[in-house]
């Protein structure tokens, strides 16, 4: 059964090369449901009876022979959890792209290949399979970036992916040289220099894919210059693979403890927590200063992924639960937000927040999906986003991380700022697009499909903790005590049902006030400033959302301009100068080349004589 799924995905990828765009989308949707069926079937292994009528009997492990090497595949609790998270995005994103693309030009084949590779990464039980599928994922996503033809985005994605692959391969080879086996089960990590260097290098490699600062520089360029459905999958799904890799190598293979004992009890994972918190903080500050909606979402993505790193860095059961919960939420809300951005761009053709506005009245369904995603992103209580962040805050206080906790909390407040930037600049505010329609029904359906899991875990945050408990017990830690509605930690408890109940109760007086007197609805342009001209000069943007956070931008920009980007620019400048110097060898004159040959032989001759 497992081989059928793998083969079907490849065959589907090949077929979608040759068929029309709509057929390709349908094939992609159909093919991407297969991995989900397998995951649903495996749910029985971990005590979840999802579909009783469904007994596919998908095998839990398999061997794959490629060019003489045998790759070991198999399902583990943690890969099941990440699989549910990443794979369920895919059919909805394909549904969205049904009407998004004007023609079929290579989007679906590479997306299906990326899905195939993702499945391989999650099922890999040896390092060779892991690395092969990892490279396949990197390359198929690289081709998806490349097909939009933006030079900067393509090159930065290529360079960072290659860098990440190099670091991971280096780590794998170091581990192989030590244990002489590629199987995960044969690795028994010891606190010695090789293991520590290998793990550190792999963690850095995974951090590139997980867009952790300071390895984030590729993300804003790539996210803002690729197709939205792909970016939704890249930000929502593929970025989690970095954290999956980190989880497998740092926790499952008990690396964090190995590193702790190597450094004499000083925890190097504290560095991961600090980087995650700084990533959340700085990316949040950068996010609300962006004018390009996609760049804003890219920085927001970097920030939200930072929380996962914080959770892994703290490493207590509380923190890991919070991190996994946050990863799950982020997959869905960020996919919805990128798809909503795509839907808005599909109708208006605009990306810049200062050129958008008033879209909510024309595209109410898109607005509602985006609004809910934003509530989850901003961790407004009772959304599952709050439960996840709450666990992380509790973990930071519990572990007494006095630097990480406030930085993470203030980044949470910063999220309100860019959330409102999206709401006000794109959906509310001035009416820039009077003659647009609601997004096509497939797009709206796709966004609402992705909202469903967020709604489920809004009511039952405990169910999410149930879902990750096999993964945690695989790790040898017990999950935190909870019921479906109440999460209890050593410090406090959080009861969703109580909050929902009181909110509904508090709605009663609000509703009575609302219904007390009737109101008249007037167009939103009909306001106190209605008589003022919208634009006095051609080309001068009078939009209130243009440079929305100008005062704070002026204060912060001097501090933020010396970041990782300028460091990479220095490296880039140095390499460019070096390459220029090397280029001078090729002068284009044949007599120069003849001279090089003569000089070469003279050196050889001199060396031989001297010998």
């Amino acid at each position: 059964m497992l081989d059928i799924i793998f083969v079907t995905l490849v065959v589907a990828a090949i077929i979608t090369f040759f068929v029309g765009r709509k057929t390709a989308a349908v094939i992609a949707i159909a093919a991407s449901i297969l991995p989900l069926l397998a995951l649903a079937d495996w749910a029985g292994l971990y005590g979840f009876k999802l579909f009783d009528f469904l007994h596919l009997g998908v095998e839990t492990s398999a061997e794959l022979s490629v060019a003489g090497a045998t790759l070991q595949l198999g399902i583990t609790p943690i890969s099941w959890f990440f699989g549910i998270m990443i794979m369920s995005l895919f059919p909805a994103i394909m549904l969205f792209s049904y009407s998004f693309f004007k023609k079929n030009d290579g989007f679906y084949p590479f997306m299906l290949l990326a899905l195939f590779a993702t499945m391989g990464i999650l099922l890999a039980k040896d390092m060779l399979a892991f690395f092969l599928f990892w490279e396949m994922m990197s390359w198929s996503s690289f081709l998806l970036v490349w097909r939009n033809g933006d030079r900067k985005a393509t090159i930065s994605y290529l360079v960072f992916s290659a860098f990440s692959a190099f670091l991971i391969l280096f780590g794998i080879l170091l581990l192989y040289s030590q244990f002489n086996s590629l199987l995960f089960s044969d690795l028994a990590l010891r606190p010695n220099a090789e293991c520590v260097v290998a793990l550190a290098s792999m963690a850095a490699g995974f951090a590139v894919k997980g867009v952790l600062m300071p390895f984030h520089s590729w993300a804003p360029a790539v996210y803002s210059k690729s197709d939205e459905p792909f970016v939704a999958f890249l930000a929502g799904g593929l970025s989690k693979l970095g954290y999956y890799g980190m989880f497998v190598f740092l926790f499952i293979l008990s690396g964090a403890k190995v590193m702790d004992s190597y450094f004499g009890g000083i925890s190097p994972s504290y560095l991961l927590a600090v980087l995650g918190a700084l990533s959340a903080f700085i990316a949040t500050l950068l996010a609300f200063m962006q004018d390009d909606l996609r760049k804003l979402l890219a920085y927001s993505s970097i920030g939200q992924l930072g929380y996962i790193a914080v959770g892994f860095g703290i490493g207590t059961p509380l923190a890991i639960s919070g991190a996994l919960f946050q990863a799950f939420n982020h997959a869905f809300f960020k996919a919805v937000l990128f798809l909503a951005a795509g839907a808005v761009a599909y109708r208006t053709g605009k990306w810049r927040i200062s050129e958008l506005g008033g879209v909510a009245y024309k595209m109410p369904m898109t607005f509602m999906a985006a609004l809910f995603a934003i509530f989850t992103l901003a961790a407004i209580p009772i959304t599952s986003g709050f439960a996840a962040k709450w666990l992380l805050y509790e973990a930071a206080i519990d572990a007494r991380y006095i630097f990480v906790a406030p930085v993470m909390l203030i980044a949470g407040v910063g999220a309100f700022l860019y959330s409102f930037r999206i709401l006000y600049g794109v959906f509310l505010g001035g009416n820039c697009h009077p003659d647009i329609k609601e997004a096509p029904v497939t797009m709206v359906a796709a966004m609402f499909l992705l909202v469903i899991p967020l709604l489920i875990f809004l009511v039952f945050p405990g169910k999410m903790l149930d879902m990750m408990s096999p993964a945690l017990s695989n790790l040898g830690i017990t999950g935190i005590s909870h019921t479906d509605y109440v999460i209890t930690t050593g410090l406090a408890s959080y009861n969703t049902l109580a909050v929902i109940g009181v909110l509904l109760g508090a709605m009663i007086p609000a509703f009575l006030i609302y219904k007390g007197r009737s109101h008249r609805v007037v167009p939103f342009e009909d306001n106190y400033l209605a008589a003022e001209p919208p634009a006095l000069h051609e080309g001068v943007s009078m939009h209130a959302a243009n440079h929305f956070y100008k005062p704070i931008e002026d204060v912060l920009m001097p501090y933020l301009s010396h970041g990782a980007d300028s460091f990479y620019n220095v490296i880039y400048g140095g390499l460019k100068a070096l390459s220029n110097a090397i280029r001078r060898i090729y002068t284009g004159f044949s007599n120069d080349y003849a001279m090089y040959v003569v000089v070469f032989f003279l050196i050889i001759a001199g060396w031989l004589i001297w010998m």
């Binding site: 007494r400 949470g412 509310l428 508090a506 609000a510 006030i513 109101h519 306001n527 929305f548």
Partner: protein
């Protein structure tokens, strides 16, 4: 339905009503105090009740569509929700079902609802006002959050009810590092209450009351209720965190309940009057000045108290 649940609902409803009335009363007294400092007679102390009743009874109400209506629905319900998750005068209400982080985030519900509604009106003043309010939030939350974390680490809990109970013998404000923390939190409170010098988001003379500019009738009335309850919520948060929630008599009983309620009311009133007196004596900051004030001086003071507490705890 269980009787205890009905009793609980009745108690919550009563406290919602009490919170609203106390807020309106304090607001009225605050207006009177400001007037006396300005050497005016000022409105009677019950003026806010009259205003709210008048606004809610208006026949003409202008809305800008369903998103605009969210402001009314979310601001009133969100702030009442926050109120009920705080212990008031020793009565824990719902505060055992959540903690300080929950309250911090619950406070965002009414503000975001309010911001959505004012954004829906397409009035640039409203947009600018909300921008200022959000920047203010980012500014004062940093020192406030740091002081809150100091308290959490000292008492080893994140629950406000437990923090309050742990102050049974000594209020936090009498412990050396928290004298500094309380001073910091009080200035953060000044920003939260949007009193001068931090009344930047409303700034009636600059941006025509900012976010409120398009609201009238029942919408403005509901925002007045929001503001009144927010006053109670924010001062109570300070009292619960630093002044032991105003609890003087421990153990149950009607007498203890009444005494504690009165002392809670007195303490919140004192905290509010301090804010009002600062309000009357200072002109308005510009938004970037406020930001720098909170992130430079306030944050440094807050960090000092946090580090101090951290060393007290680990040693």
């Amino acid at each position: 339905m269980d009787v205890s649940i009905i009793v609980k609902i009745a108690v919550l409803a009563a406290y919602a009503l009490v919170g609203t009335s106390v807020g309106l009363l304090f607001g009225g007294i605050g207006r009177k105090i400001i007037a006396r400092v300005h050497n005016r007679v000022g409105p009677p102390f019950y003026q806010n009740f009259i205003d709210v009743a008048k606004l809610l009874g208006k026949k003409t109400n202008i809305s800008h569509g369903w998103i605009f209506d969210l402001a009314l629905l979310f601001s009133v319900s969100g702030i009442l929700l926050t109120l009920l998750f705080l212990p008031i005068g020793g009565v824990k209400l719902m505060s055992t079902e959540g903690d300080a982080f929950l309250v911090l985030y619950l406070l965002a519900i009414p503000s975001l609802g309010f911001a959505l509604g004012s954004g829906a009106s397409a009035n640039p003043n409203a947009g600018i006002g909300v921008m200022r309010a959000l920047v203010m939030m980012l500014s004062y939350e940093l020192p406030f959050v740091i002081t809150m974390i100091a308290l959490m680490i000292y008492y080893d809990t994140t629950s406000i009810a437990t923090i309050m109970e742990s102050q049974r013998h000594t209020w936090a404000i009498f412990i050396p590092p928290f004298i500094l923390a309380a001073a910091v939190a009080d200035m953060a409170l000044q920003g939260m209450l949007m009193e001068s010098p931090f009344d930047i988001p409303m700034a009636p003379h600059e941006i025509a009351s900012g976010p409120m500019v398009e609201f009238g009738g029942k919408y403005l009335g509901s925002l007045m209720i929001y503001k009144a309850v927010a006053l109670v919520v924010e001062t109570t948060l300070f009292v619960d965190l630093f002044l032991g929630g105003g609890v003087i008599l421990h153990g149950g009983g009607v007498v203890a309940g009444i005494v504690n309620f009165i002392s809670w009311m007195l303490l919140t009133f004192i905290v509010f009057v301090i804010a009002i007196l600062i309000n009357t004596s200072f002109p308005r900051f510009r938004i970037e000045q406020a930001f720098k004030f909170y992130w430079k001086y306030e944050a440094v003071a807050a960090v000092i108290s946090l580090v101090w507490v951290y060393y007290m705890v680990i040693s």
